[in-house]
Symmetry: C2
Subunit: 432 residues, 2 copies
Amino acid sequence: MDRKIGIGILGLGVVGSGIIHIIKENKEMLYKKIGSNLSIERVLVQDIEKDRNVTLPKKLLTTNPDDVLKNPDIDIVIEVIGGTDDAYIFIEEALNNRKHVVTANKDLIALYGSELHDLAEQQGCDLFYEASVGGGIPVLRGLTDGLVSDEIQEVMGIINGTTNYILTKMDEEGVPFEEALQDAQKLGFAEADPTADIKGLDAARKMAILARLAFHMNVALDDIETRGITNISLTDLEYGKQLGLTMKLIGMAKTHNDTVEVSVQPTFIANVHPLSAVKNEYNAVYVKGKAVGETMFYGPGAGSLPTATAIMADVIHVAKNIQLGITGKSGPIIERSARLSPPHLRTSSFYIRLHVHDRVGSFAHISQLFQDMDMSFKRIVQTPMKKQQTAEIILVTHQTSLESFTNAMNKLQQMDVVKSIESYYQIEGETV
Amino acid sequence: MDRKIGIGILGLGVVGSGIIHIIKENKEMLYKKIGSNLSIERVLVQDIEKDRNVTLPKKLLTTNPDDVLKNPDIDIVIEVIGGTDDAYIFIEEALNNRKHVVTANKDLIALYGSELHDLAEQQGCDLFYEASVGGGIPVLRGLTDGLVSDEIQEVMGIINGTTNYILTKMDEEGVPFEEALQDAQKLGFAEADPTADIKGLDAARKMAILARLAFHMNVALDDIETRGITNISLTDLEYGKQLGLTMKLIGMAKTHNDTVEVSVQPTFIANVHPLSAVKNEYNAVYVKGKAVGETMFYGPGAGSLPTATAIMADVIHVAKNIQLGITGKSGPIIERSARLSPPHLRTSSFYIRLHVHDRVGSFAHISQLFQDMDMSFKRIVQTPMKKQQTAEIILVTHQTSLESFTNAMNKLQQMDVVKSIESYYQIEGETV
């Protein structure tokens, strides 16, 4: 008699349909790989009568969550409804009923991953969420399994397709932010309300998950300095081109001794760095390990089938664990709660754009300030501007601490010769 | 009492030393992840007295293979001596003695992977070789686990660091092949005898392994069309730049229905394709799945610590399997032996460089030939050359079958107006 593993699905949108599609299309292959049949038992929907892309016997659909969460035939619950309200209640209930859970829900895992892992472990259940970061890219498992023996030093990701599409469009076609955003919305790469994407919140949630797995510490969303892309000007992108730098919204997590810095911010990436070539809606996660050096995982960061693929990788993982009797050990080992790196430990090089009074000595004044602060430059570009006797100065610093940089910015702001600090960005990767 | 898993290592070169380094440095972390201590029991070396970078009690070293292969305290044998003679005998012997085997030996696995997997399965032993392709990049496990539910359609890799370094150097600095090779040798990116690298043989072995895992079929080395980089001229790289194409040594495996094509050859990659940005000694494997779409795994293709990291990921995998009692299932499911795709199923676009007699009608003749054959062009560039009334013509075709292309090339060669076919290359990725 064939063994069977019962699957319940919460939600039948594009991802849910994709999962059903994959399970049906690859029945034999899946059986060969798992040694059991995956059987779709019930699917929670809002409206049973709605027309759908996927053909499924109507009796499998239900509007009652308990038909999934308390169904004795269901071993694995796949959550693809999203959000943090119902989804949280459902996942908690599923775990309480000793169902294993696979989810793509980055918001939920970023916020409650730690406690849900605790509950899962208590219940002897698996909880996986490969699809929550980087869509179809198997990056979480790459981190936890592939680089398991290594000491991760740095994780940097382009983990939001919407903003990467917008920045690519701005950079390559010279269109301003608003226009690039509208274009992304037309093509379905941005939602009607794009706030979470363009403000960097979506990326911050994914960074919370990546940092937890990479560094074995719980990072709260509040610990993540987050800056969106709404204020990026084409002027900076243009200077970036001249300097061999490409602007990306970068989620970054680095350790310094026992501390960690986690941020999401627009960052100039040197063109020799592999992240600089990640364009349009694509995602990539760059990982630097003490032993392995630099690796990068690249692929589609969203989309129903890529997401469904990642979910299925998790489902198969759980299915194997069930048969091996080793479920309930899916959580990352949390060694310590996050201690944030103080500014003097955080180093980077920086790009600064200033407007100064175009008069004799302005440049010398500014140089003197930085010299006094022991900060040195890689590149300085001064351009007279047409209007108002103003000059524009671009400074690219050598590596310096965030503390020194902040001090320098404060002093700059107080200088008479400085009209305004137009923008500043961290730079990652060696500039030429 | 602490549980213990005994490790034996065959070879103590840079990789062997790296493994010992990782096991010592990460003792606690490894224990947390595995729930057992990894204990290095014996290490096979050629010369016990030799000075080494790694400190290890001398009593652990041995020149007698049986001290490792038949040692009852050893559970996992790590083979890092390389080659296919002794290594084969040792691995066979290890498996016969029910030791699990982890190896970085691509030559051995490409040639004998199938039979060694059979033996491992019979003996209930694991056999893993993540480090054999792409050094520290966790690409094999990405293929077999991360994309497990997907149907892989295409695998393309830059999987030889030496040739990628040479091609990058030629492309960016305009130095000819011989000079770039010498430079690579000086920097340690190429061996004294670089034949296996520059002729594409090393890449072909890795493709045999990748194709087996991606498509569940045994691909023999003889099935892999292999063309090295020794004849690449700067002229073609220069035209490539004008056309938005970068030359890479590409290992490619694609399925067409139930057949497969596997090749290693210099290929022009369109600059929009993520593989085009993989430079210097770096490796990357691009995977196209029916559901996931395009993903890419990037990282260092060689080096002692990256390789050691991949080996350690395998060791930890085995260690977990041992404790779960599920060893002996590491082999890929081979569904069929490879049937090679016939030329009419293999499609690509092509770059062709011709020398023709620079006289009225030459161009029209050639156009007519292709029109008669129903092949169309994306780009045609004609340049008069200084000498001998010759013109150089660059043709970039639309997608066409290899069969049509070969016919066209044969006819071209017979045409009076054609002096010589200087070069031709496949193109991957959409050209602009």
